[in-house]
């Protein structure tokens, strides 16, 4: 009888402490290309998630306004700590999907984030949709991701539709040189081809001429043919959609040949990464890019500088378009989990749908976070930046600009 009683008490104690222990961490999963040709980006995005987790779990009162920054842990969950588990997608859609499935069924994550490449994001979000787990995407810009009718997929960052439209709005503000003849150079991927389609569409609707549409395969061993074609087309504006490696090669190849389009505008990705800045910052001064982020955004929003400084201090590299979006996305997710007050995926999904963050509750240059019926953040936006003195500075929109535009573009 006594043993039975002891056993019962022991069981009760273990259950109670077990439950309490279970409440003390909330796990989210994050899938990025941690190996392969995009590993540099993937590793950087992992850092962004890790910093977000740190901000949530520890007190950062100086980051005023950002939900959960000033306090320690998830306040509505008894101060439970947020934890992130990372998986390598190896840059492949099937691996990303397997890892998502594994994180959901083995690690029992409350929510998922990922996966940089839109092809991997498409597949990684499938198990989440099928199993009913929220999937938050922060840094993929392919519009199709939020056009699939998925219930559990959310995106906080802007899409290419917004980004490329921004580029054309920016071109409309330039009066010092012609912007009528537009050429687009794009990599033969989902991102590149969609950018090219948008450029074609918007050129037409804005009364401009698309004089060249030049594609190439990412990771090409030679881009001389592309540069030659571009040169032959004599555009006023050259729009580029490339990842880092090709962006670097284009710069090299064009410099060799001595050709510089009068206006070089990149649709982010490769051109706006910290990598590109570091490698070609002085050489490619004058390059203009649309970007999700710029280091000088702190002038209009002080908390942005603080977050950027924190990232740079922790990791030794500056915050860029990708890592800033992921950092913000992770914070939004943490806030939703907190508002849900539980690790139940359905509750988190409900909280995400109800997200209503204002301008001052995000460090990104957005109006806040509010998801439309496609679960795409309708308050998100990008900026246009120009590489000056080794870093990118905001040049558009005018209310966020910190420097004036330097034109025309030429090699240094």
């Amino acid at each position: 009888m006594r043993t039975l009683l002891r056993l019962a008490v022991l069981t009760l104690v273990l259950t109670v402490t077990g439950t309490v222990a279970a409440q003390s961490t909330v796990t989210i999963g994050a899938i990025y290309p941690l190996t392969g040709s995009l590993a540099a980006n993937g590793v950087n995005l992992k850092r962004a998630v890790q910093l977000a987790v740190d901000i949530v779990n520890n007190a950062y009162p100086e980051l005023s306004g950002i939900p959960l920054a000033a306090t320690e842990g998830l306040t509505n969950l008894g101060g439970a700590k947020l934890k992130a588990v990372f998986a390598d997608s190896q840059g492949q859609p099937s691996v990303g999907e397997s890892e998502a499935r594994r994180l959901i069924t083995q690690e029992h994550v409350a929510a998922l984030m990922g996966a940089y490449q839109s092809s991997v994001t498409k597949t990684a979000s499938r198990p989440a949709e099928l199993q009913g787990v929220p999937f938050l995407n922060a840094s993929s810009s392919s519009p199709s991701l939020t056009e699939r009718g998925y219930e559990w997929f959310f995106r906080t960052g802007p899409t290419d539709d917004t980004f490329v439209a921004d580029i054309f709005k920016f071109l409309d503000t330039i009066t010092s040189q012609p912007t009528k003849r537009v050429a687009v150079v794009y990599e033969n991927t989902d991102f590149g081809t969609h950018t090219a389609d948008l450029v074609k569409q918007l050129s037409g609707s804005s009364g401009r001429d698309l004089v060249a549409s030049i594609s190439y395969t990412a990771g090409a061993s030679s881009l001389s043919a592309q540069v030659q074609r571009l040169q032959a087309a004599k555009p006023d504006v050259a729009v580029f959609a490339s990842y880092v490696s090709d962006a670097l090669l284009f710069v090299k190849t064009m410099r060799e040949v001595g050709y510089a389009p009068p206006l070089l505008v990149a649709n982010d990705a490769g051109f706006s990464t910290a990598q590109f800045e570091k490698e070609d910052g002085t050489v490619a001064a004058g390059v203009i890019s649309r970007s999700a982020w710029a280091a000088d955004l702190g002038t209009s929003k002080p908390v942005a500088s603080k977050v950027a400084a924190l990232f740079e201090k922790t990791y030794g590299v500056p915050l860029d378009g990708g890592s800033s979006r992921v950092l913000q996305g992770a914070l939004v997710l943490a806030d939703a989990i907190n508002r849900a007050g539980s690790t139940d995926p359905a509750a988190i999904k409900k909280a995400l749908i109800a997200t209503d963050l204002g301008r001052d509750q995000v460090f990104m240059p957005w109006g806040g976070v509010n998801f439309d019926r496609n679960q795409q953040n309708s308050l998100t936006r990008g900026v246009i930046v120009q590489l000056q003195n080794g870093t990118y500075h905001t040049v558009w929109p005018s209310n966020l600009a910190s420097v004036s535009l330097q034109l025309p573009f030429r090699w240094h």
Binding site: L34, V43, D88, P93, T105, R126, N188, T217
Partner: protein
């Protein structure tokens, strides 16, 4: 006195029974997922082995057949709303058709040239599909998320596992049937000394072609399965040269030119890759791939005959 053949069949039966019981004994989606990968690559390795091990031509472009099967299946589903049950069969035929198309001029090539030609074929398809809007170009084709047996979209991994198991039994049976039959006999002759075989009256061209078509058809079928399992195809993921290499790896590591070899190779290599990635991949330092590479180098240098050779050497000698 039970004959060796009957004993082998009994063992096989026991194995199949174990495999059927597997998903009910082991819970959770992930182990089933790994098992599906093992079955997939075991089958792909077996199919490759027909050309590589038996006919004796090293192909490094089998992803071409895999990709055709995947794309045909996915395109029929997304553009024509035809169920993958039919799609996979059509994909298999499509891959076999490709083999028929390029088989004659390509099978004339010897050794290294054949290998290079297969690589070139795989790459041409990858690059062309990437640029072909009709099949989705670089964006690829995504299956709508609609759970049903008709679309082969399931929440659980168990149905996929059983389909894979059925396909695996089919693959093993088909390959064994041909290898143990007349075709296998001629393939061995061709592999041994092609000109001698030809001078003895063996229609080498026809039998090489048969081998390639069989190999391609099976590979294409599994390409279709892969497509519906992942729910997405794009040129980089299905025409990837690494898929071709992995097929070769499992066959060689397991024991080239044997029926059991590829399955053994898959059983060892796939879980190894999975385990190392899960344990070490998250760090972002690529240590898992480093280990994988080390394993490949060590096995090829120390035990070129594959795992099977190791087994045979230490096993009891047969009565014959």
């Amino acid at each position: 006195m039970v004959s060796a053949r009957a004993r082998n069949l009994a063992l096989l039966g026991a194995l199949v029974a174990l495999l059927i019981a597997f998903p009910f004994v082991v819970r959770g989606a992930y182990p089933k997922q790994v098992a599906i990968l093992v079955l997939l690559y075991g089958a792909l390795g077996s199919a490759w082995n027909v050309v590589g091990g038996y006919v004796g031509r090293i192909s490094l472009g089998h992803a071409a057949f895999f990709g055709i099967g995947a794309y045909v299946t996915m395109w029929l589903m997304t553009a024509q709303h035809i169920t993958p049950w039919i799609g996979m069969a059509v994909g298999s035929l499509g891959a076999a058709g490709l083999a028929l198309l390029i088989g004659w001029p390509t099978l004339r090539l010897k050794g290294h040239y054949f290998a290079m030609a297969t690589i070139a074929l795989g790459e041409v398809l990858r690059i062309v599909f990437n640029d072909w809007a009709f099949v989705g170009g670089a964006s690829g084709l995504e299956a709508p998320i609609h759970v049903s047996w008709a679309t082969l979209t399931f929440r659980s991994q168990t149905p996929y596992y059983f389909i894979a198991l059925a396909f695996a039994v089919l693959t093993a049976g088909l390959v064994a049937f041909y290898v143990e039959g007349k075709a296998g006999y001629y393939w061995q002759a061709i592999r041994g000394d092609e000109s001698a075989a030809a001078s003895l009256g063996v229609d080498t061209a026809r039998y090489k072609m048969n081998g390639l078509v069989l190999s391609a058809g099976v590979t294409g079928l599994w390409g279709g399965f892969f497509a519906v399992h992942v729910g997405f195809v794009n040129p980089d993921s299905v025409f990837d040269i690494l898929i071709s290499v992995q097929m070769v790896l499992v066959a060689v590591l397991g024991g080239i030119g044997s029926l059991v070899g590829p399955w053994l190779g898959a059983l060892i290599l796939l879980p190894l890759g999975e385990l190392t990635r899960v344990a070490l991949g998250g760090s972002g330092r690529g240590v898992d791939l480093l280990l994988y590479a080390l394993v490949i180098v060590l096995i090829t240098v120390l035990q070129p005959g594959g795992i099977l050779a190791l087994w045979r050497r230490h096993g009891t000698p047969r009565g014959s």
